[in-house]
Symmetry: C2
Subunit: 312 residues, 2 copies
Amino acid sequence: MTITQLYYVLAVAENQNFTKAAEKCFVTQPTLSMQIQKLEDQLDVLIFDRTKKPIELTEVGKKIVNQARNIVNESYRIQDIVDQQKGFIGGEFRLGIIPTVMPTLLPMFLKNFIKKHPKVKLKIEELSTEEIISKINDGHIDAAIAATPLEEENIKERVLYFEPFVNYVPKNHRLHNHKKIDVSDLDIDDMLLLEDGHCFRDGVINLCKAFKNQTDDQFQLESGSIETLIKLSNEGLGMTLLPYLHTLDINDTEKENLHHFNEPTPAREVSIIYHKSELKMQIIEALQDVISGVIRGAIAFQNVKIISPLPK
Amino acid sequence: MTITQLYYVLAVAENQNFTKAAEKCFVTQPTLSMQIQKLEDQLDVLIFDRTKKPIELTEVGKKIVNQARNIVNESYRIQDIVDQQKGFIGGEFRLGIIPTVMPTLLPMFLKNFIKKHPKVKLKIEELSTEEIISKINDGHIDAAIAATPLEEENIKERVLYFEPFVNYVPKNHRLHNHKKIDVSDLDIDDMLLLEDGHCFRDGVINLCKAFKNQTDDQFQLESGSIETLIKLSNEGLGMTLLPYLHTLDINDTEKENLHHFNEPTPAREVSIIYHKSELKMQIIEALQDVISGVIRGAIAFQNVKIISPLPK
DNA sequence: AAAAAACTATCAATAAAATTTATGGCAACA
DNA sequence: TGTTGCCATAAATTTTATTGATAGTTTTTT
């Protein structure tokens, strides 16, 4: 049994297809066929059920794949140990970021980070929280920035900052004249929300529900970007909530529509999250340092109340 | 990096010598030299400091060895998964047993076990508790039978039985006329003990100390086997304590010297212990079943008080 | 229903890698 | 100063992995 064989098994299990898996491994399809057969012969058990289309794992196969993933990941950690020893911070690093954090946070720290750690090849993907959790678990990304707490067993979290929610209340809205807004003033029925799958949407819903016992799911309008939410709000379609960092770069006219909450200010907790195996921890810590550094100057709220990002 | 390379590293680390390690791996010495060099080149770090005689691990080397042991062990578990799936109970199994359990317990279950599980190649070693702990941790034995609880972080325990302590009081001893003996009657100064390193010795010391506050370490006589203890006792050199199973096959004259304790009967807890990774768990469970089966008929004490086997 | 496409297994050839035998060098030791 | 123990190196050999070509299925398309 070799690590390579186990790696091939993982590839086929993921792609449910020898040919595609072979491409991902940069070898030819017969290589996979033969090596996996060899492993199956040695263990004297079938890992894949090749009669099913697409190919499926057998019952033992599933267990073997779990263990194989374990072994392959642990083997990566040996290079990690060496890097750590040398104080080397480099190599490829895949980072996921949720959509409502991406446009504001990324420009703030990216330049700094690549300047400070030029040997790290950052590959950044915009992903939903759900996708992030799954990709951290299967090792497709090394870490992610998301709203927390997530209560995921295999995922660790390090808080980067708390980002308050800010009300965006257009001119003719009933709340426009309130200087400060209280959570109890919110009415989810005239609140513009992001479309399903965004955890910021779930955060807002949790916030509204916290004070009104509404389970009425008939929301008026939904959008995929916060930019659009602001535009729709300007059209008089309702108020909306913005994450604080988004309020920093809107124009002056629109700034007049911003209303802060009474304290304790509802806020989301934004963390860098990663698999509990702590692979590439040096880079994760480097990211944490850089981001904490740039945020320190940007957000200065004292009394915040964290809203859960989880649905229901 | 291959599992084989990691295995070679482990062998050299353990033997502190390439030549010996090569023998243990059933390859020639240049194989180890070259494969380990190759790994070191790939990682671009020295694992061994070859200037030291005998050879030593570098600082990184120690960390790498730990991780390598981890990976190699996890790789064994794949065969384990397959065996478990097939309900196959077989293969080599190394079992350690402490000296004071070995001669009484082994004859009771061995025949049964090899009859019930003929495919298991049992290799049994008599080892002290200390040796057992170290050999379980480095994977040299798969499980062991020892007095518990041990409070070892990486070792799990499954209790097999509780074995009462029985007093062996020779004719002319001050306690010989007591029908039952109370723990408070014991005096460690006229108690014959096993030599250092036996956990049964530590158990007896704990028992005596529990009622007398003696820290006087001047014990009269010490021996390596319980057989000898009985003989010495017969010579009038003091009383001694025997594990219950040892009292079953002594001769009738000597049986008259046996005195049970008042309840709660002090007893040792005897368990099968194994590494927390739970490798070869099917065999461990099979052993547990067989031993529990034979013991059920042999020991029937109700009210026991467990004495710790740990020194101090 | 036939043709095309998609997919895996197999085979022989080749490339790559691990292992061995033989040997050299170096340090410890007598 | 020769001997021994020990690791590294080199070349030869054996073993293993990989490839390109192709055959045999099943699925999809027309």
